[in-house]
Symmetry: C2
């Protein structure tokens, strides 16, 4: 028998490590990186061949890991969601509460505003993407809630603003016409945050 017994798989997203041969793991990582890069430059409708090429694998390899095109898109998105949510812990550890909050919001805006076609996929009604919005909130809400709690107990922001409300508001603010600069979202969000401040401005 070639392989020992599988242990377990951890949670829910496709980026997870079930039990992969070492080369398969390497290709999977390469694939996710390539896909992220290509989606950013050519949009989510880029040909599979381009992604496979950039990852240095054949197309069949892409399909073995991601049976449908949408699975790859979901995986990339989930990875970015995870990265953004996880950044909250880092900022919280490295900066004062208000600074941490502010920096994380930048990060969040960059993710939400840089929607090269992702938004279209999300709102397309395709059931393949149905789980993403819930996942988005499941990850983001606790991340922001922690930062808000810190800022709130440090008395730099007023209480009473929920994480969910803020997340949603920013998403909507970023939902303007396609080519819109993230600068708009940033400035609108700055207003939001200043509005939440405790009047301790300069």
């Amino acid at each position: 028998m070639p392989a020992k017994k599988p242990s377990q798989n951890q949670h829910d997203q496709d980026t997870e490590h079930r039990f992969l041969r070492s080369d398969a793991r390497r290709n999977l990582d390469s694939l996710l990186n390539a896909a992220m890069a290509v989606f950013e430059t050519s949009g989510v409708d880029a040909p599979m061949k381009e992604i496979a090429g950039k990852a240095g694998v054949g197309v069949a390899t892409v399909y073995r890991h991601f049976p449908q095109r949408s699975d790859l898109i979901v995986a990339v998105l989930a990875q970015q969601i995870d990265a953004c949510a996880d950044a909250a812990k880092v900022f919280a550890a490295d900066y004062a509460p208000n600074e941490a909050l502010s920096r994380w919001m930048q990060r969040y805006i960059d993710l939400v505003a840089k929607k090269r076609g992702f938004a279209g996929a999300l709102h397309s009604g395709d059931p393949a993407y149905a789980g993403l919005a819930p996942y988005f909130f499941k990850r983001m809400e606790p991340a922001l809630a922690g930062l808000l709690a810190d800022a709130s107990s440090a008395k730099v922001i007023r209480a009473g603003v929920t994480a969910g409300d803020l997340l949603t508001a920013v998403v909507r603010l970023c939902h303007g016409p396609q080519g819109e600069e993230p600068a708009y979202a940033r400035s609108m969000t700055r207003l939001l945050l200043e509005g939440m401040a405790c009047g301790t401005k300069e």
Copy 2:
């Protein structure tokens, strides 16, 4: 010489009559109807062949009238925008100001909420759809402005709400998750309108 001289073309959208042979005109109408029906049932990604088939023409005929797939989508959308905008005059003539306003808003919501993939196309960033949003406003804004003015001078709504604001607000309200029932948008919009009323409720 086969045809007499062209007269002129009227305005901007593709649904316009430049100078067409009778059969071409017939096919164009048939095509627009077929496309509207197919888009509604199968979504905007339906194969051209399906549309051409339902219209009883060959695919080449579709492409002669609409060089790109997006041109057909734009034409159908423009037609629906026109129909909705034009309905304002009819309602204004047939009903009391508040009733006319209310009925037109229903019509408008039905158009905006019934976004079988159209929203995705609009927000896709594809330059082919760049002109649609401006066109949408150019047609809708005057239509609603007239109704609002009537209702305002009849003292059934308070002044100070602009047509543009209202149009945008409703679009945003309808912008929820894909499968969302129009009932949600309707009830939210009812709230908006009641909020605008002059306190003359029962």
